[in-house]
C-alpha cells in the first residue's frame, strides 16, 4: 500500500520526503517569535501613545534602541560560536567611556583604544580555544577588567560625545528617519557576513561541530577568533551608539545589556549549543526588548515592576518558540 505522498514524488521507498528549506534564509521560522513579539509591542505603543508613530516619535524610539541592536548582534556572534559573553555590557560601557573622553581629547589614542578592545575580544577567543577555558568564565572575568579600566578612566559619569559622532547620529536622511537605516544596515551586514560569505559558512560550521573543521583541514582557532572579533566590532559600535544617544558616558550604565542581549539573541532563535543564531532574529529581539521598556514607561508601570513584566513576556516568547520548533521539527 502506498500513501498518497509516496505516489506523488519520485523519491525512493523508505526515504521520507523533506521540504526544500533553504540553508540559512534572511528570515527564518526561528525568528518568528521575535518578529511577533516586536510587532505586538509596536502595536501596543501605537495604541497607548499614538504620537510616537510620527517620524520624530519613531526616531526617538529607535535611536534609544540602537545600542540594544548592536549588543544583540555582538551576543549573536558569540552564541554562534557556542559561547556566552557575560562581559558584554561592561565592554560596551568601556567603549562608551573611551568614546566620551579619550576619543574627544585625543582622536588617535581613542581610536587605538577602541581597536585594542576589538583585539581583546579576539584574544578572548584565542584563550577560550587554546586553553579550553569556558567562555563564561573568561568573559565574566573580563567584565571586571573592563569595568575597572572604565572607572579608572572616568570615576564619575560625564564626558561628551565627539562632535563628528553626534553629527553622524544627527543626519537627516530621506524617506525614513536615520535610525531605521542604521538598524537595517547593521542587520544586513551581519546577515551577509554570516550567511552569504564563504567564511560565514566556516564560522557556522565551527559553531555546530568544531571537529568538522579539523576534519576538513581548517583552523578552529581562526574561526573562533573571527567570531569574537565580529562581536568586538559590534561592542565598539554599541559603545559609540550609547555615547551618541546619551551625549556622555557612564561606566555602569551599559551593564544591563549583558543579560538583555542574551535574551534578545535567544528570542531571535539562537541556540546555546552553537551554530544556530540569526542576526535578523537577534536584532528583532533586541528591538522588542528596548520597545518593551518604552511601552512599560508609557503605561506608567512602576520601574519596580518593569523587570518582572519583561520577564513574563520573555517566558511567553520562549514558550511560543518551543511550540513553533516542535511543529517545524522533523521527527
Amino acid at each position: 500500500m502506498l500513501t498518497t505522498e509516496e505516489s506523488q514524488t519520485p523519491r525512493r521507498f523508505g526515504e521520507p520526503a523533506n521540504g526544500a528549506r533553504r540553508g540559512q534564509a534572511l528570515f527564518e521560522v526561528s525568528a518568528l517569535p521575535a518578529f511577533l513579539f516586536c510587532a505586538v509591542v509596536v502595536v501596543l505603543i501605537a495604541i497607548t501613545e499614538p504620537d510616537t508613530m510620527s517620524a520624530f516619535g519613531i526616531e526617538l524610539l529607535l535611536t534609544a534602541a540602537i545600542p540594544a541592536v548592536f549588543a544583540a548582534l555582538a551576543q549573536c556572534f558569540i552564541i554562534l560560536a557556542g559561547d556566552i559573553d557575560l562581559g558584554l555590557g561592561s565592554a560596551m560601557g568601556l567603549a562608551n567611556v573611551v568614546a566620551a573622553t579619550l576619543l574627544v581629547s585625543h582622536l588617535a589614542e581613542g581610536v587605538a583604544a577602541l581597536v585594542g578592545l576589538i583585539a581583546a575580544y579576539a584574544a578572548i577567543g584565542w584563550l577560550v580555544e587554546t586553553f579550553h577555558v569556558p567562555a563564561v568564565i573568561v568573559t565574566l572575568g573580563a567584565s571586571f577588567v573592563w569595568l575597572g579600566i572604565a572607572l579608572i578612566m572616568q570615576p564619575e559619569p560625564g564626558g561628551t560625545a565627539p562632535n563628528w559622532l553626534s553629527r553622524i547620529y544627527g543626519l537627516v536622511l530621506p524617506v525614513v528617519p536615520e535610525p531605521v537605516y542604521i538598524v537595517i544596515a547593521a542587520t544586513g551586514v551581519a546577515y551577509w557576513i554570516i550567511s552569504r560569505t564563504g567564511y560565514g559558512v566556516v564560522m557556522r560550521a565551527f559553531g555546530n561541530r568544531p571537529s568538522a573543521l579539523t576534519q576538513v583541514g581548517r583552523s578552529r582557532l581562526r574561526a573562533r577568533m573571527g567570531l569574537y572579533s565580529l562581536a568586538g566590532i559590534c561592542v565598539v559600535l554599541g559603545g559609540l551608539a550609547v555615547t551618541a544617544v546619551s551625549f556622555g558616558s557612564d561606566a555602569n550604565a551599559s551593564a544591563t545589556y549583558t543579560l538583555s542581549s542574551i535574551a534578545a539573541a535567544v528570542i531571535g532563535g539562537a541556540e546555546f549549543s552553537g551554530g544556530v543564531a540569526s542576526p535578523t532574529g537577534a536584532v528583532l529581539g533586541g528591538l522588542a526588548l528596548a520597545f518593551m521598556s518604552s511601552l512599560l514607561s508609557f503605561l506608567n508601570v512602576s520601574t519596580n515592576y518593569q523587570s518582572a513584566v519583561l520577564g513574563l513576556c520573555l517566558v511567553a516568547v520562549f514558550g511560543l518558540r518551543r511550540v513553533l520548533k516542535r511543529g517545524g521539527g522533523d521527527s
Partner: protein
Amino acid sequence: MQAPLLRVTEMSKSYGASPVLSGVTLGVDGAEIVGLLGPNGAGKTTLIKVIGGALPPDHGNMQLDGQAIDLANYSPRMAQALGVSSVQQELSLCTNLSVAENFFLTQPVRSRKWRRACEVTAKRALEDVFPNSGISVSAKVSTLTLAQRQMVEIARGAAAPHLKLLVLDEPTSALSQDRIGDLHNYLRLVRQRGIGIIYVSHKLDEVLAIVDRVTILRGGENHWAGQVEGLAHDDLLSLLGGKATVRSNVALTSDQVDRQPVLKCEHMKTPRLNDIDLVVHRGEIVGLAGLAGAGQRALLHEIFRPSRTTRRALSSRGTIAYVTGDRQAEGLFYLWGISRNIIVTALSRLSPRGLVIRSKADDLAQRWMTQLKLKSGSSIASLSGGNQQRVLLARGLAAEADLLLFDDPMRGVDAGTKSEFYSLLDGLRGSESSVMWYSTEDAEFQCCDRVYVMRGGTISKELIGDSISTDNIVHWSFPEEKLLMEAREI
C-alpha cells in the same frame, strides 16, 4: 613493476600504554577495492584516520603514488590535496548548514557565485552516486534522515577533486538495500577510472559483493590478506574470529509461550505510521524488520514514549526499557563511568528511601559488567564502539523491564559482540522479559520468535517460526510495485 597507489608499512600508534596499531601493512592499487575488516578494536578506524591525516602515527611509512609522505607534517588538508578522501563512520556533516554548504567546507569555491557553484556540485555528486535521491541540496542537514545524511556524506567524499583514493568507513550502516546497490554500482564505476578504494564494513555479504581483496586486522596487527575470490561468508567470519553468527531457529511453539500479552497495539496512527496492529507476549522475542526508515524506529519511539494521540492505541503491562543503536546522540553519558551508566535506569529500584544504596548499585553494575565482559575503571569515551554498545545493552538489561525495546543495537558492531548478544537474547527467551527488536541486518531475525515486517509505515507481514527467513523478509519489505515489476521480468 608499477608502484601501488597507497603503501602503508610498519604503521604503529598507541593511545597511552595500549597499542592500537602495531606494525600494520596495507597496500591499495589503482582501480582496486580493498576491504579492510576486523572486529571492533582491531584498529581499522585508527588506520583510516592516519591515512586521512586526521591522526599522526607514532611511527611508520606511507607512500602515495610512489612518493613517500612526511607523516610528521601530514594533515587532513594535505591528504585532500593529494587526492585522499575519507568518509568517516561517525557522520561529520554540520547539521546547521545546507547540503550545499557542507560541500563548500571540503571543496571551497573562490568566486562570487560560490553558492550556486556549490549547489551544482552537490546536486551532481548526489545524482552520480544515488540517482533520484530526492535530497534537496538547499535543505538543512538537520531536516534529513540518518540515511539521507549518510548519502550526502558519501557523495561529498566521492566528489572530492583530483580523487585518487577513496576511504569509506562503514558507509552503509544506515542505508537501505537498494541504496547500497547504488553505492556499489558507483564504486565499480569509480574503480574503472583507476581510483583506489578502501572499504571498511562489518557487513560481510556486502564485502564479498564489492571488494577485490581483503586485509583483515586483529588486535592492531595484520591477520590475513588475500583475494576475495573463492571466499564465502563463513570463511571470512572465521578469519575474523567470530563464531557462527546466525543461530538456528528455536522458536517456541504456541503453548510454550505464556500467552499473556505484555504489549498490545491496536490501530495506531501517526504521521509516520499507518494503522499498526501488533502484540508482544511475555518472554517473546519479536523482530521489527523492513527497509531502513520504514517506520520501525518511529514505532519504537511511540511505544516507549507515546504521544497523547497514540496512548489510546497502546495497552502495555509493566515497565519498558529502551536500548538505542545511536550511542553518540541518544545513548551514553560520556562524563560518567561505566557502572554509573549501567545503573542509571535502575535507580528507582536501588533507592527505596530516596537515597541510592551504594552496595546494591555496585552489585548490580558488577553483575552486568561481568556478564557482558566489560572492564571497570576505563572511561566511556575510551571504549571502542562495540564496547560502548555493550554498556548500553547492560543498562537496558539492568533495568529489568518487562519489555526491552532494541533500536538496532548491533549497528556497526563487531562479530564477537554480536554473537554474545545473540546468546544473551537466548537467555532472555521464555524469561520474564520480552524483547522487541529492530535491526537493519535481516539475517539477525533468525533469533526471533516472530517478526513483523514493516513497509512505508505499515506492517506488511507477520512471520512466525520457520517462515522467518531473509528471503521472506526482503520480499515483504519492498514495495509491491517493485515486486510486480520483478514478477513481470520473470
